[in-house]
């Protein structure tokens, strides 16, 4: 039986939402789902090599940012890049950088992004993949 498929339109470049995406990817990996991630506008910023590990922006409850980030440390939560990497090791995860989003942040080549990214693609690829997904999310 073919694996089920999760498509994720990943728009956010904030560590709170990226961390949530990492948790969901873990669940998908546990179930051997195929995963296609499309890195859209703000997420492409977070995927730039120079930003991935230093970016500490949060999107929600910003007045509690310090508590949130401290809690991630207290709970020994893997950095979102590590959660994504673990999912890639455990199941078939492909990460596509939206070509337009890349250019917004001066990322023109795959090498401008962290090595989690597999390719740079257009939105048609997302639509095609999402059409056959069992679960489709926008974060």
């Amino acid at each position: 039986m073919a694996n089920k498929k999760l498509t994720l339109a990943l728009f956010s470049g904030s560590v709170d939402k990226l961390t949530a995406a990492g948790v969901i990817l873990g669940g998908a990996a546990a179930e051997d789902m195929d995963v296609d991630i499309f890195v859209l506008l703000q997420a492409a910023f977070a995927f730039k090599k120079e930003n991935a590990l230093t970016n500490d922006r949060v999107a929600e409850l910003t007045d509690n940012k310090d508590e949130f980030l401290a809690s991630l440390k207290r709970l020994d939560t893997p950095h979102w890049t590590q959660a994504f990497r673990t999912a890639k090791e455990m199941t078939n995860v492909n990460i596509h950088i939206c070509g337009f989003a890349g250019k917004v942040w001066n990322g023109y080549k795959l090498d401008d992004f962290i090595d989690l990214a597999d390719d740079i693609c257009g939105i048609g690829e997302y639509i095609s993949s999402a059409e056959t997904a069992d679960v489709n999310l926008f974060i």
Binding site: G27, A30, E31, D76, T86, M90
Partner: protein
Amino acid sequence: MMTEDLTNIKVDKSVDARGTSCPGPLLAAKKAIGEIENGQVMEVLSADEGTRRDIPKWCTKKGYEYLGTLEEAGYYKIFLRK
């Protein structure tokens, strides 16, 4: 399976995931299940409340037999047979 049976069950593989939060214990279970043979028993130690519901559901989907859960002091022992 009754609780009495679980306390005496022969465990072939023990996975201690008490230091991790969701989905850590589930991923630890997924990694470890590849290291045991069909018919063998694995226990997953988790202090994460969500895991006690996730592992039985995961077993159903993956075709493993969920045997039951023991509540220990501050954590759960979740048993399954591959």
